[in-house]
Symmetry: C2
Subunit: 337 residues, 2 copies
């Protein structure tokens, strides 16, 4: 079966990015990528009476905007693939009730953006759809109170802690002819657990899964890090990124300056977010607001996008469980313009 | 594109059920389907120290058993698609760390079994895999304390309340030649919200989504209810099933005695579970323990399997939200044996 080498799928059709949208929170807007985003919220309630409703609104508006930017309409979309970090995926599913598109809810923690793109591109390549829209969202204030502490408590954060990004990224993919960039390969990750139990050190929990998926992808495609303009992980943060670098070097692959992380580049040092950004919106808005435009402008030529997820809940942590991770690889190429 | 008519996908390959496993809780084992299940637990902790760990063990063991029954091995499986009802999908993802198969986490509430089969069959039909394993699990004791009340409280239940089924259903699907039954069509559902706010009346919340997906499927395939041996919804329960019947009749489609519900048939009246079973394990163990064997024996010829999900969380209910529903349709045929 030529579509599959090892665990990596090589797409036969040109699956292209037809529309990308990014909506970011106030603090993300003040960061180094602020000018990349389509919309920066002035406050993170965005006119709603709860943060959860604001998060769901971000999902909806990002989907709407990505479709508008593609020049198509809701009716042209054959599937909506999306998810978020909230219990029972309420940000995505409450947005989806306003969106008349068949809905596939996905949960991959912070790997969600890559999971939606992987499945979406296979559904297009297989001829089951001609256009799909993919979306991932996260929100600092909803995640803090769900996973950590009430914001009102003002808890001290550890140096390895990351800040959940408030943001929604949405992508319209199509198999119809047009300019790139294109998704060319996907590698779905296995769940990997190295026994990390510190919920304030998610980067360390996710790095082994990222290493496993990246090494698999490089081997399956017979490529090396220097064959890519950049290898962007989702939200390992500064500590997790160094662990990943060490793991790759130990495996005989030195990624040099090609290896980067969306979370580590989301905020400026003076914003004092400790180890960087996290959340599935982190890689979602970086991909749609920054990486795809950079590919379109020719500033990047061929990248790996590896959103990384830490698979845990407050209950699993309370029950003494470690934190497994998962990471899916999406290879994106600029292609002929 | 001949693979798609309206919202319905017609699979080109024969996607067949190669191995089915069902693990059920003690009360499910005492019900009318008790003899159908591969394994009935004597107690719902199954040797673990928490119910959550027992639920994760059910997922793992169901996957393992379905693969064993298919005559294949873990290494033959190209994707694991699965989910559960717990926050952040911990039952599925903690099981997945012991399973060396690329993992796609799905969340569709109680529609999960149909979501895994829909996506799994498209991945096979598109040539991205030759074998996949699909699994959905739920557990009465974990669901009660997460969604409702601590069991120790002994809260009174309303007549429309359903009982979350303790059970895990797993299916190995393959595109390789062999005897049926086969998945022939899938219809992915839209999210539908009729404004139901009573979390003890999930059947009413899910019935409109089920009606939307069934009517769409019948129209797209130009079929009528009498063309099927049975149309099985997932877990509408006795009240939700009657609402669905009314909605279909109002739309000009009388399903007569073809329309049935896994939840309504899971428990005997004397088991006093009020409106019946629910949870994604309900349709999961019914499909794998009962419906597929009945198709294999020729007692059923052609069915629609429509697992139905209520998309809500405790937070959304506390914030005054209604409960949207989603339902995915999987058409399964006995085929030549």
């Amino acid at each position: 079966m030529e579509k599959r080498t090892g665990r990596t799928i090589r797409l036969q059709k040109k699956i292209r990015f037809a529309g990308c949208a990014s909506i970011a929170g106030p603090m993300e807007g003040e960061g180094p990528l602020g000018s990349c985003f389509d919309q920066v919220l002035e406050d993170d309630l965005w006119g709603e009476n709860t943060w959860e409703k604001a998060e769901s609104k971000m999902f909806y508006e990002a989907v709407r905007l990505a479709i508008a930017k593609s020049g198509m309409s809701m009716e042209d979309m054959h599937f909506l693939l999306g998810g978020d970090l909230l219990n029972q995926l309420i940000a995505a599913s409450f947005a989806a009730r306003q969106i008349d598109i068949p809905f596939l809810g996905l949960y991959g923690a912070c790997s969600t953006m890559a999971e939606t793109l992987s499945l979406g591109s296979m559904l297009l390549d297989g001829g089951f759809a001609e256009q799909v829209v993919c979306c991932a969202t996260s929100h600092f204030s909803t995640a803090e109170r769900q996973f950590r502490f009430p914001l009102e408590m003002g808890a001290q954060r550890t140096p390895t802690a990351q800040r959940t990004v408030t943001g929604a990224g949405a992508t319209v993919l199509t198999s119809k002819y047009g300019p790139g960039p294109y998704i060319t390969h996907v590698t779905i990750g296995r769940v990997v657990d190295f026994g990390i139990k510190d919920a304030n050190n998610m980067g360390a929990a996710m790095a082994p899964a990222a290493a496993d998926s990246i090494l698999t992808h490089l081997e399956d495609t017979q490529t090396r890090p220097e064959d890519y303009s950049a290898i962007f992980t989702g939200d390992l943060g500064t500590f997790g990124l160094e662990i990943l670098r060490d793991l790759l070097i130990k495996a005989g692959v030195d990624p040099k300056d090609v290896l980067r992380d969306c979370g580590a580049e989301m905020f400026a040092p003076e914003q004092d977010t400790h180890a960087g950004g996290s959340g599935c919106g982190c890689s979602g808005i970086t991909l749609n607001g920054r990486l795809i435009p950079e590919l379109q402008k020719g500033e990047l030529d061929r990248i790996l996008f590896i959103a990384t997820g830490a698979l845990m809940s407050t209950v699993s942590s309370q029950q003494g469980e470690s934190i497994p991770g998962v990471a899916h690889v999406v290879q994106i190429e600029r292609g002929a313009q």
